[in-house]
Symmetry: C2
């Protein structure tokens, strides 16, 4: 039985970033960039008007000047702006030849081809010089950047229509147990509906990975082995739940021992004591406990960081905050426990209330939870007002 | 010209939650529930063992008892446990008739059909009574619940395979401007590549909505009207960018005035002064400014809350935190300004540094930003150490 932190480190030590793939930039949202993107041109590529108004020669002191033409965005007009003249110009249009500043339309008056300029400007005023936003040769986005909306806009701007990114890991998910029936069925005597596959596949998706549904697998060695092999073939990561406690029918761990290397089989944590982590070649396999809360909490603590690392993320862990307990909390000093809680901000503090009965089967205790309180081993019950660490897993109001 | 807060309220006042749709629960991740889900059965449905061990009669005081059989998960055995006897039982299996507690396997020894019980138990120990997790008739998930992984697991558990949810809004996105070319092309003289459609479609997707690409539309009245009509037909929301400042070619606002009702056309904010919001029937239309940063920031401030409301969310605004400025910040007192910043936690404070030159065209100023500093109108420059409000738009380390 190993401590939580050791188990987390062992998992990450065996998790390698997936090989990068080349994708259309439009498919790259929420991916991590595996290359550095440089600008091959200046942005803007030409001196461009920042406003609607009149292109002028800044040194010109005439109050009234003649209109020589109109420079709209999208092409280059063939006239020249000289002292005594101006050209109408729109936002984003290239500054016409001869002009070196733009006067905003608000400070002008145009009548019968004559334009009154009411405000003096300096050379460069209301003009975006070439390369102001991005200079040729500049690093636009370094390798390792998470591609969010602004980053996709930048890729479009510099014409980088394909990019190297780390792909979404494929994660095969199965539930094991003779008692499980599909959610569409009425359970018979001694049966219950499978919840874990659906909650885990959703958690996989929220972690940026692609779930593959391996269905419910009975506690029969042949069937289990066939599906575990199928999962490891199609996917980068295999997730099973159920079948990892101490009963005779716990078939997953021995199977993983046969197929690859089991790095640990029990972690000193609640929920999640029976938890197996194995590698088969470079593929990862997690055998999570079968209780619905245990499966989701161990996913959060051990699997999600690995899925993020596979995708090239460097921030793998949830933010940790010190929180104040709103009420007494019972805790077994022998294990590190993760209790589901709702954390709210009160003045400068974060205050945490647990979400009712914390039974491992009670998925309702996860509903609305935005934090997991981390109650360390070595200390018993906690009193209201005490401070503990919490993993923030959702938005805090 | 109206204040930011008024503009936000006007938008939300004209935004109605979309009619609910019925979907498979497996398609419901990140949707908001439009119905209340009740439990029609107890979960667990039967008294179930919480551990692997032996089912016993708690009042029985014999140290050594005879094994009468094995109760595994998934069916109901037909034997009875009476004083002087025990049955082997696995986690999740129904408690056999006659038994009222389970002794963990760690506190037992089985040899030749005789089981030594080393720890006394009370009735109910290590047994999950029917309805412990969810009682028949109980509200499992109230209407308005955001469906996350645990909630999908609950829907599976109670057999609710279809649910009423608020759908993802369809959002038609176009860029307007004669200067724009597609990202795959080399811009000619006076031309630039379109960035806004890609950054806005990505932002739409991150807000839980479905983008529809209407392409680049030239500043020609006929073409623009055809595409605006096409967008309003296919989508719940129309987003344009460009063509909303004061030039003669600003065609979007007059067109929206003709097709529907324009509620405002200018907001006292930077970036984003020229910003049109209109409704056409129950559909929303936003004409965002053309500068890449302006388009994304006005999306964040005005469009995202509306997209969330359409989906039935009730928390529409980003969390706001008081932050300490790490350096002096220049600010025009005439407008409420939103500057891009990186906020980090330092001890008990949030410290904000802006992301370099804040030009409206400089998308690089959005890269890595996890906050928008809100610099209120009525006050000029801010000094290092001053406290301002910030919208938290990304994870804070």
């Amino acid at each position: 039985m190993i401590p939580v932190e050791d188990a987390q480190q062992i998992v990450l030590a065996h998790t390698l970033v997936l090989p990068a793939v080349r994708v259309a930039f439009t498919e790259a949202l929420d991916r991590v960039l595996a290359q550095t993107v440089y600008a091959t041109e200046n942005i803007p590529p030409f001196p461009a008007s920042a406003v609607d108004g009149y292109a002028v020669v800044a040194a010109d002191i005439e109050a009234v000047r003649w209109l020589v033409g109109e420079q709209m965005a999208g092409y280059v007009a063939d006239f020249q702006v000289r002292p005594g003249t101006v050209a109408r110009i729109t936002t984003g249009a290239p500054l016409p030849s001869g002009a070196d500043a733009v006067v905003m339309v608000e400070f002008t008056e145009e009548r019968d081809g004559a334009v009154t300029i009411r405000r003096a400007v300096k050379a460069g005023d209301n003009v975006r010089p070439p390369g102001q936003d991005i200079a040729r040769g500049e690093v636009v986005l370094p390798a390792g950047t998470l591609l969010s909306p602004a980053e996709l806009g930048l890729l479009a701007t510099v014409g980088q229509t394909e990019v190297q990114v780390y792909p979404a890991p494929r994660v095969a998910v199965m539930s094991t147990g003779n008692e499980l029936v599909e959610s569409g069925y009425l359970p018979g005597p001694g049966q219950i509906r499978d919840a874990n596959r659906y909650s885990l596949m959703a958690a996989v998706r929220q972690a940026g990975a692609l779930p593959i549904d391996l269905g419910i697998v009975r506690d029969r060695p042949g069937e289990l082995e066939a599906q575990v092999r199928a999962g490891l073939e199609q996917a980068d990561v295999l997730l099973t739940s159920g079948g990892v406690s101490m009963g005779e029918l716990d078939l997953v761990k021995p199977l993983l021992e046969r197929l690859g290397t089991v790095h640990f089989g029990r972690v000193n944590t609640k929920p999640g004591k029976p938890l197996t982590f194995a590698t088969v070649g470079q593929k990862l396999a997690f055998a999570l406990p079968g209780f619905p809360v245990s499966a989701l909490v161990t996913f959060e603590i051990f699997v999600r960081p690995a899925l993020l690392k596979l995708q090239g993320h460097t921030r793998l862990m949830r933010p940790v905050r010190e929180v104040v307990l709103a009420h007494d909390v019972r805790h077994d000093p022998e294990r590190t426990e993760f209790q589901r809680a709702i954390v709210v901000r009160q003045d400068n503090d974060y205050v945490a209330s647990t979400t009712g009965f914390q039974g491992s089967g009670r998925l309702l205790s996860m509903v609305g939870a935005n934090a997991l309180l981390r109650l360390p081993s070595g200390q018993g019950n906690f009193a209201a007002g005490q401070r503990v660490q919490a993993l923030i897993i959702g938005e805090v109001e």
